[in-house]
């Protein structure tokens, strides 16, 4: 609430129409603003004046007696015994004598501003109302507990929501992956079953005797897949590159890195000029790839067809 909103809340506070949280906020504000406090008092006076519109009703004698008896049974102590029916274990001398003393002011002052509780035992105007402060503290604490619980519940709910969302994202990511994998496998199946698909075996050379690979490509479209096995691990900054050698001239293919077991699956489109290649080879190149082989060392090589 800003200052204007607090001013607006004063009328509602006087009517007891504020919600608990707003009332607490307003009370805190009033502690600091004398101007608002003055207006609050005016508003409360106006609200209390509504009581004048109600017809007074005589209190039955028995009730009057009960009331006067009950205050004798509850001697008050300095600072004001707070709480409903709170039995202050009063000292013996804080009894009847105090009752008459305390109210003496009222009996004597039949002026137009009777003092509600003039007393020569209890200060009429305590510097700070300890009990009142305590009460608003208890209220404030209760309110903050409620707020804390609500915020806690909100946070729990929010976290759960986030977890679920993360899980959902993960699941839908996983589902996308599976979809892609299925699409790839379907593509490969098509590739292998296509009538003009050529499958070439590549064998490991002397520097990679255990390595082997299969290259399948469709002559018409150039769609190709290369599967490798047992290729040695690549050093940092390096990658394997596929070459199509046609007419003694190597055409660059894609670069790839095998996994720790030397397996790799490379999808590639063979350039038109490479579709009649007689030889396919794999060399170790810089990982961004090269346009012509930077080395003569071949890892995989197809037999000339």
């Amino acid at each position: 609430m800003n200052h204007e909103e607090y001013k607006e809340a004063l009328a509602l506070e006087a009517l007891g129409a504020l919600e608990a949280a707003e009332r607490l906020a307003l009370e805190a504000h009033l502690e600091t603003r004398a101007e608002c406090r003055r207006e609050a008092a005016e508003m409360r006076d106006a609200a209390a004046a509504l009581a004048y519109t109600v017809a007074p009703v005589a209190v039955p004698a028995a009730l009057r007696t009960r009331i006067l008896e009950s205050i004798k049974a509850h001697p008050r102590t300095i600072g004001g015994g707070e709480g409903d029916g709170n039995q202050n274990a009063g000292t013996p001398d804080s009894h009847g004598a105090e009752v008459s003393n305390a109210a003496g002011g009222i009996g004597d002052s039949r002026d137009r501003q009777p003092q509600v509780a003039a007393s020569n035992v209890v200060p009429l105007r305590p510097r700070a109302s300890l009990a009142g402060a305590l009460q608003s503290w208890v209220g404030a604490i209760a309110a903050s507990i409620i707020i804390a619980v609500l915020v806690g519940a909100l946070v729990v709910q929010w976290r759960r929501n986030n977890d679920l969302r993360a899980e959902l994202t993960q699941l839908s990511g996983r589902s996308d992956e599976i979809q892609q994998q299925l699409a790839r496998e379907r593509e490969e199946r098509e590739l292998f079953s296509a009538p003009d698909t050529r499958v070439v075996a590549l064998a490991g050379t002397k520097i990679a005797p255990r390595a082997s690979a299969r290259l399948a490509y469709e002559r018409g479209s150039g769609r190709a897949v290369l599967y490798t096995n047992n290729l040695p691990p690549v050093p940092t900054g390096k990658a394997y590159q596929l070459w199509f050698i046609a007419g003694g001239k190597p055409l660059p293919g894609a670069v790839f890195k095998p996994d720790s077991e030397g397996h790799a699956t490379l999808r590639e489109t063979v350039p038109t000029a490479g579709r009649n290649a007689s030889v396919f080879a794999v060399t170790l190149e810089p990982e961004q790839g090269a346009s012509t082989p930077t080395t003569d060392a071949m890892y995989l090589l197809s037999g000339a067809s």
Partner: protein, 168 residues
């Protein structure tokens, strides 16, 4: 004993208020007793620089009555006899004259306030409804209700001005 004088000066006003709010003699008697006990115990907390004694007493009494109203509403309360139409003149004649004058001043002021504003004041003060409860009861936006209450209260304050005599 002078606490008795305090009691005799205000009890019938407060008892009328209790009955108006609670519509139950049993509850009204109960709460009135509670209120006087609190007045007695809290008198030390009363700070006359922060407000008038009449306002302090009435505010305390009204808020205890609304507390009771809310808790007894929750208990599915049985309608009890309404006794607030009983008007009796007791106590000091001069006080009673002032009381009657004040009643006229406030009634006049209320009559000059638009009905929709007056209604919100009554629902809050005597029925103990909060702003949101009033808004939902009237089917009006909360902002409208707040504005009505504020306008009504400002008019009430200005119209009453210093015209109230002090049986305060």
């Amino acid at each position: 004993m002078a606490f008795a004088a305090l009691h005799d000066r205000y009890a019938h006003i407060l008892f009328g208020l209790m009955l108006r709010i609670l519509h139950s003699r049993v509850d009204a008697e109960d709460v009135l007793q509670e209120v006087f006990l609190q007045v007695w115990q809290r008198a030390a907390n009363f700070d006359e620089t922060r407000g008038r004694p009449f306002t302090w007493l009435v505010t305390l009494a009204r808020s205890r009555a609304i507390d009771r109203l809310r808790s007894s509403n929750a208990r599915d309360r049985v309608a009890s006899e309404a006794a607030h139409d009983v008007m009796e003149t007791i106590g000091d004649a001069a006080d009673e004259a002032i009381l009657a004058e004040n009643r006229e001043v406030v009634r006049h002021a209320l009559a000059a306030i638009p009905e929709d504003q007056r209604r919100t004041l009554h629902l809050a003060y005597f029925e103990g409804l909060t702003q949101t409860e009033i808004a939902s009861k009237l089917g009006e936006p909360l902002g409208t209700v707040k504005t009505r209450m504020r306008s009504g209260m400002i008019k009430l304050r200005d119209l009453i001005g210093n015209r109230l005599g002090s049986a305060r």
